[in-house]
């Protein structure tokens, strides 16, 4: 039988849907009976969501602009405007 500690070990796989059918059924059965593990899974899932919001922070526009300019000049160095129409 699946114990709390076992469940904690495979909690991320459960959240990401990576468990086999049988394992996933055992986890669900355990969660029905164990409020501490329900709480653990809920908290772990929330931590994951926190991460998603956190790191989608926008990058610095100025930095991107500098990079755009560098790429543009590197491109021109490689292809001197020889022919007509660019």
């Amino acid at each position: 039988m699946l114990m709390c500690r076992d469940l904690a070990g495979i909690a991320s796989d459960y959240i990401d849907g990576e468990l086999s059918f049988g394992q996933s059924v055992s986890v669900k059965m355990h969660l029905m009976m164990c409020k501490d593990c329900r709480s653990f899974i809920g908290n772990l899932r929330m931590s994951t969501r926190l991460m998603q919001g956190h790191s989608s922070a926008q990058a610095d526009d100025e930095v991107i602009d500098r990079i755009r300019q560098r790429v543009s000049s590197a491109l021109q160095e490689r292809q001197p405007p020889s022919g007509p129409g660019q």
């Binding site: 709390c4 796989d13 908290n43 926190l50 919001g53 991107i64």
Partner: protein, 205 residues
Amino acid sequence: MRTPTALDEQSLVDGLKRGDQSAYEQAVSEHTAGMLSVARFYVDPSTAEEIVQDCWVTVIDAIQRFESRSSLKTWLHRIVANRCKNRLRTSNREITTDFGEVLEPELDSRFKPSGRWSTPPKLRFEETADALMENGALSDCLDKHLGALPETQRSALILYEAHQHKSEDVCNILDVSASNLRVLLHRARQKIFLMVETFQETGEC
């Protein structure tokens, strides 16, 4: 969301291969932010900028060899990650790879020998993640803890959660097996969980 003039990925790649200026403009606009955040998890921000800039210059030549086996985004992120790893190697900073135990010791110690919780999770998340993130102190704390994760755990978390790469792409970028990726992700998540729990309980990071 795309504008009517935006090129789809294949025409974008074709444009890059032709050295088309506007294709580069579009690609740089779409992908630089993501590349920077990959790099920033290996190196400091100014080195990250330098590396991403160099990567784009490399792309001008390397794009001819891009065969669309992965998405352009995955390919670009892989170039960035590899370059960062090389940089760390030459500066003798070890990339720690921790595929060991599945449970964090701090979490593991919270179970009885019987396998039941002795110290169960203390808090219920009643707030949504968005509301929690509006707490600036928690956000700073998260930054600090992310910074303290071993590099492979951090990159796995960032690529998988924040950039929503598929598992196989993350394995490809980080050069780890699928089962190692599962361990990295789980260990990183447990640390974030423990951090948020402490933060909510004590208000301290």
